[in-house]
Amino acid sequence: MSVQTQAPAQAEAAPALVARNLSRWYEVKGGFLGKPRTVKALSEASFTLHAGETLAVVGESGCGKSTLARLVAMIEPPTGGTFEIGGVKAQGEALKRLRTDVQIVFQDPYGSLNPRQRIGSILEEPLLINRPDMPKAERERRARETLALTGLRPEHYDRYPHMFSGGQRQRIAVARALMLDPKVLVLDEPVSALDLSVQSQILNLLIDLQERLNLAYLFISHDLSVVKHMADKVAVMYLGRPVEIGTRDAVFAAPRHPYTRALLSATPKADPRQKRNRIRLEGELPSPLNVPPGCPFAPRCWKAQPICRQERPELSGAPTLAACHFPEA
């Protein structure tokens, strides 16, 4: 329990999560006799997330949002940059202690629960590992408490995962993530695999839990309508780099980066009467193996000038930070 007695004094004031220039590069073999190449899955991601707040990370596949989730959840170490949790730098000795402060909920509720474990033991496992001196009765009490908190029923305690629907499994996954009283919850596409009618149940659950437990959410998603509903702040990523960061209202009302605008206009609206002139993006996402020099979005951008292909723009400006040489006003 030393974890809790040491940190609080500074944790009260410090943001739940601060990332500074987080990067993750992979070396891949370049085929037979080829030179090894670097995949820049994530480069220089910086942001601050306070308790009770939701930062949504949006982008298409290969934009590095899942890599970011894995770094923050301490599944992989960053190859560059640092991050702090509750004011404590996540490196070396501190890593082990901080591990309980960040928990993760995965996209696929069918793959994220061990099919051979009962729900009770799935929930108690984190306690068993991290608080070995806790008596069994106490563990069970907490597991049952969390079951109730996440809208599950007490009799579910003895069941196996295959007896549950996708939505209920996602509740169980959320319950497991809550067992260690984390400060930060990484939600990696938590509703993407769910049906619409179940999706809203899980989103409501997440909203309630955040209000009640003052959790900080790092919400990874590709669905802009969900992000718009959930987020306080939004970070838009493209090819491993954040291209625009700002408050939800600013990003959705007046996006400054052309990619954000394209993404917003490409998202289908459930209103057949609304005819919009969509921004047509030509071409495909370049491979993260050969990120173009200069602005990564330049090859697909309709506003690109020669400078965009030579010099990479930095995040700057207001009301949102945008990495663009020619941002919208």
């Binding site: 591990r99 809208g151 196996y160 309630d208």
Partner: protein, 301 residues
């Protein structure tokens, strides 16, 4: 947060349990069910050999050398399946032979599987160079004809049933290593394993508590199939004089002893041969059924 609590009691309750579902699939394969009953009879015989055998398997009745089975002229009910060249009762020897075969199967599978599972999990979770090392050693073992390798091992260790079992276990082990490693690798990348890692589970816990139970179904199938391989190999070693030593009533050894009487007394060869055939066939049929029932890929939805 109350959304789920006002559901009708979860649909899961009425869904058939895993075991009954398994049984339903297994039952569909008639060969497998027959195999299972034969195997059950085999186990019963192995356990109860002392009680049901009419004679002591190594007592020699010098007045009844090579007596034929009861339905052949010259046979009698005293020795229903006849006697061998030194006057031992064939039926009693066969019944006791079942015990040895069962013993060989159980011990070999237990050793091969437990060793193979541990090495396989290690290979699946270890750094790449350890994995490569282990798998290359396994490839080398697999590159030898298995019986030949077992023979060499027994030749080094000295012929006895125990050494034969050790040799067979070593020869069968790589199959378990490969199987375990392959399913450990595929399980390891699943989210529930990552979730356990995020919760802080140690590598040992991940290997044996999180991943292993999910790799078991192919291993169980392999266990059933290598049970029969073990019996067959032990009999082959016995036949070559490298396994159980006379007067042990082991089926392979019985065949070897009877070799010179093939033309004069067919029963001394036929019955041990039939016993091996029926047992191995039954176990293989059962193993096939197990595979069909446990492998989700072959299930129809």
């Amino acid at each position: 947060m109350v959304d789920a609590s006002n559901l009708p009691a979860s649909a899961g309750a009425k869904r058939p349990g895993q075991l009954s579902e398994f049984w339903r699939y297994f039952k569909e394969n008639r060969g497998a069910v027959i195999g299972m009953w034969v195997f059950a009879a085999f186990v019963a015989v192995a356990v109860l050999a002392d009680l049901i055998a009419p004679h002591d398997p190594i007592v020699q009745y010098r007045d009844h050398l090579l007596q034929p089975p009861f339905w052949v002229e010259g046979g009698s009910w005293e020795f229903p399946l006849g006697t061998d060249a030194v006057g031992r009762d064939m039926l009693s020897r066969l019944l006791h032979g079942a015990r040895f075969s069962f013993y060989v199967g159980v011990v070999v599978v237990a050793f091969a599987a437990s060793g193979g599972i541990v090495i396989g999990l290690l290979a699946g979770f270890a750094p790449k160079w350890v994995d490569t090392l282990i798998m290359r050693v396994m490839d080398i073992i697999l590159a030898f004809p298995s019986l030949l390798l077992a023979l060499v091992l027994v030749a080094i260790l000295g012929p006895s049933l125990t050494n034969a079992m050790i040799a067979i276990a070593i020869v069968l082990q790589p199959h378990y290593v490969r199987l375990t490693r392959a399913s450990a690798l595929s399980e390891r990348s699943k989210d529930y394993v990552t979730a356990a890692r995020v919760a802080g589970a140690s590598k040992l816990r991940l290997m044996f508590i999180t991943v292993l139970p999910n790799c078991l179904s192919p291993i169980i199938v392999q266990g059933a199939l290598s049970f029969s391989t073990a019996i067959l190999d032990a009999a082959a070693l016995g036949f070559l004089g490298m396994g159980a030593q006379p007067p042990t009533p082991e089926w392979g050894t019985m065949l070897a002893e009877a070799r010179e009487f093939i033309l004069r007394a067919w029963w001394v060869v036929t019955f041990p041969g039939l016993a091996i055939l029926v047992t191995v066939l039954a176990i293989n049929l059962m193993g096939d059924g197990l595979r069909d029932a446990l492998d989700p890929k072959l299930k129809r939805s």
